[in-house]
């Protein structure tokens, strides 16, 4: 499991490679909060290379979404495969997040 962060225009793009679970979610959280502190406002998390997400991973996404909103920023998610989509639907988190099918769509949507 690893995260790669890069910037595309004024958007911070995070790729989650592997699982997003209790063992590594703090790392994702810290990385995004660091960028938020630096003044970044637009965040895109791309799940095209993600395996599975557990409830604590979902919890971190919820927490980040709140923190980003509080700073007047925006968070988008992209590239959830069918299994991950099901996970968001089961928990109704698909109603909380702005989810784009592709990275391009997500980038355009800011």
């Amino acid at each position: 499991m690893s995260f790669s962060i890069k910037k595309q225009g004024d958007i911070v793009v995070v790729d989650v490679e592997g699982q997003l679970i209790v063992g590594n979610r703090q790392e994702l959280k810290q990385k995004v909060l660091d960028e938020l502190e630096k003044g970044e406002k637009k965040f895109l998390i791309d799940f095209s290379q993600t395996g599975y997400i557990d409830s604590s991973g979902l919890g971190v996404l919820v927490s980040l979404s709140k923190k980003i909103r509080e700073q007047g920023g925006e968070l988008r998610l992209a590239n959830l495969n069918d299994d991950l989509k099901t996970l968001f639907e089961l928990t109704k988190l698909d109603t909380l997040f702005q989810i784009a099918d592709t990275r391009e769509r997500a980038l355009e949507s800011f």
Partner: protein, 154 residues
């Protein structure tokens, strides 16, 4: 000559392939991913549906393991979590045992889809186990045990 491409002999009939796995880990969440990977490959070996192997089993098992490590054993490095996985052509039965005193399964299961819960960071673990498995049971056996059952056809 045309391009010939053939699959090997048909996969073996499933009947009678029985697997029992027992894994013991210390109370450290960093072990979770590896244990899940072992059980997932077991699940694939008996040809469970791809979705079961990629979503239901990994997520439900991760949840049970985190809870056992964090709540049941309080991350005490002296305490262990034991996982038993039994698979046959009908179902997968997972048992996750910790050294804690147990809890009230019904009482502790939240509905995270309620409006007042949707922005909570926690409280989705037991709910997801219930959603992703056909049966979730809890019982005591020298500690707390969660039993998750997933039927092949479901």
């Amino acid at each position: 000559m045309t391009d010939i491409r053939s699959r090997g002999e048909d996969a073996a009939p499933l009947g009678e392939l029985r697997i029992a796995l027992e894994v013991s880990i210390p109370s450290d969440v960093r072990y979770i991913e590896r244990v899940v990977e072992i059980v997932r490959s077991q699940c694939m070996a008996v040809l469970f549906a791809p979705r079961h192997c990629a979503l239901n089993v990994p997520v439900a098992l991760s949840e049970a393991l985190s809870n056992a490590i964090l709540y049941g054993n309080g991350e005490d490095p002296e305490k262990h979590v034991r996982v038993r996985a039994q698979v046959d052509d009908e179902q997968l039965v997972l048992e996750v045992a910790d050294e804690g005193t147990g809890f009230d399964l019904e009482e502790e299961t939240n509905d995270p889809t309620q409006l007042e819960n949707i922005e909570r960071e926690d409280g989705r673990g037991l709910f997801l186990m219930q959603q992703l498995m056909d049966r979730v049971e809890r019982f005591d056996d020298h500690g707390n045990v969660i039993r998750l059952t997933l039927k092949r056809g479901s």
